[in-house]
Subunit: 336 residues, 2 copies
């Protein structure tokens, strides 16, 4: 039986003593909150440009094979900064708790955030908690905002993409989306399909050290690889031509997609990135990426061509080709 | 009759075409989003330290006399930065929308955010939208994170507070909380009690220009003036001794508090600040603050004494004194 005192109450959001206790007992030990002032103050790095990003996390369920909303909320924002070419430094964390949420779950989620922060080498420097009435939320939502520095000389943008460039993927697709989807549908796999959620900043740092000719990077989360490539095609005005056989998909994910009638190209990922790179550097880059745990499955999956303009073309394994567009509707709601 | 196409649908959060359209049609025109990349990139200011803060806004109802959740989400975060002594520069905005939320309300709220940003002179540089199923949210929650610069030489902290310092309040208390509370309870006043929500960064800039002897500032939001003073007393180890008669409370708010059985000292504010300042500079500071619209009601409300330690003491108008503590429970849930 859960006692009332083990659950979030509206008064935990009131600004009074109960909120102060919640922050002191749960948030301060988990994060690097050196003061409870309204703003965190840090020394400014010596050079570079500032990168800022934000993401809210509303994934359902909160715990899934390979992770939970806490680690997701750190990794997702770290990765958004990383693929912009930034070195992530600081995160903020805002919590919207539903009245009745178990404090033991909050504790687990905060521990995951701490663990992910340590793994990524970043600091959570400011936080906020709000409580909404029972039935006006869904347990817990987290927003994180991230702050990082882009070193001088690094400028990634889809507008840099050039005909002949190679498209590099850092790992297999669909793991995150399928792990959550399987859980929601009560399907189990042997072995379990785990979410790929993980910080990519160390991989990105390594990649930027190998070549100065990366045009753009992005992490294909909501909307999957297809949507990210479509964005590249749209912004560059060129064609992203990928080969079906070269896109890594693990057998379990492939099987689950067939079972559920889903296309892995549209499934959300949380621990891979796609980069467009000068053709001369692609092989060496992939070779180096494969030496890292995050990049062990890295592959060149295609190239950039002049036409058809603003298009993603998939060369299928049976020799045909099809146009890949954005999904209009919703394949997997609340996947991140 | 509202058509389905006028309401938020789950697919608006999917990462696909509908989400791209929502961002293009609603968020890009409202904010200063120059790219739809995952991170915004800005030049770094030349000097100073970095201030970072975050707040989620879950106020109910979303629209209230004198403002709405949109302007609140900008002002609240601008003010958190300002009272830390920072010049606010950039905000991020994360939206959690409930399926079925009217797009026309979203439009109004975004327009308020734009207006408040212009008023404060800050830029919203990165955003995110998520959609949750009907019944798993409450229309709209907003998180904003803020980024600013604290110029060299400015260092505000309750640890700076010294015996003899004066306590300065920039305006009358209780306006925000009572405006929302009255609306919730279907009580109307003549004239309407309006929320005080507004950006305070220009007032703070002016204050910091007048004296280098401000010890600490804070905006007494959730938990009201009482909670903020209690935090000062706790951190400084000293006594904050205020005089009831000198704390500005507008007649409408005073009447409403009597009617509703509330203490204005605990009511949330969104457009005032409390500062502790060297006794020699207090008069001149208040005099200068009164020349601004945000500081028109500024007053010295008390002083810092040695004992009783870690205590807030209120000298009442009838000549007694009482100890002011933090509220344990919840006076007004979801006030910001």
């Amino acid at each position: 039986m859960e006692l009332c005192m083990d659950l979030i109450q509206l008064a935990h959001g009131s600004g009074g003593r109960m909120m102060h206790q919640l922050i002191r007992d749960y948030f301060v030990p988990a994060f690097d909150l050196r003061t409870l002032n309204d703003s965190a103050v840090m020394d400014e790095p010596a050079s570079g440009r500032i990168a800022i990003t934000t993401d809210s996390y509303v994934i359902s369920p909160l715990f899934f094979p390979g992770g939970d909303i806490g680690m997701l909320s750190v990794c997702g924002t770290v990765n958004d900064l990383s693929v912009s070419g930034a070195r992530p430094l600081y995160l903020t964390a805002g919590f919207i708790l539903e009245e009745g949420f178990p404090l033991k779950d909050l504790k687990k989620i905060l521990a995951s955030m701490t663990e992910a922060s340590l793994k990524a080498g970043i600091r959570i420097v400011a936080g906020d908690t709000k409580v909404v009435d029972r039935g006006k939320g869904d347990g817990l939502f987290i927003n994180t905002a991230g702050f990082g520095i882009i070193e001088d000389g690094i400028s990634l943008s889809p507008f840099n993409i050039t005909v002949g460039d190679r498209i590099v993927l850092s790992g297999s697709i669909g793991n995150h989306g399928i792990s959550v989807m399987a859980l929601r549908n009560g399907i189990s796999f042997e072995p379990d399909i785990l979410s790929d959620a993980r910080p990519l900043n160390r991989l990105v740092e390594r990649m930027l050290g190998i070549t100065g000719n990366i045009r753009v990077m992005r992490d294909p989360t909501r909307g999957g690889l297809a949507t990210t490539l479509k964005e590249f095609a749209h912004d560059s005005g060129l064609c992203m031509r990928i080969s079906e056989g070269s896109v890594p998909v693990r057998p379990g994910v492939r099987g689950a997609c067939e079972l559920l009638g889903l296309d892995p190209l549209y499934i959300a990922n949380e621990g891979i990135l796609v980069a467009v790179v000068d053709r001369g550097d692609a092989e060496a880059l992939v070779c180096e990426m494969r030496k890292t745990p995050e990049g062990a499955e890295a592959a060149i999956i295609g190239e950039v061509t002049e036409a058809p303009k603003r298009t993603v073309l998939l060369n299928t394994e049976i020799g045909g080709s099809r146009i890949i567009d954005m999904l209009s509707g919703d394949q997997l709601p609340r996947i991140c």
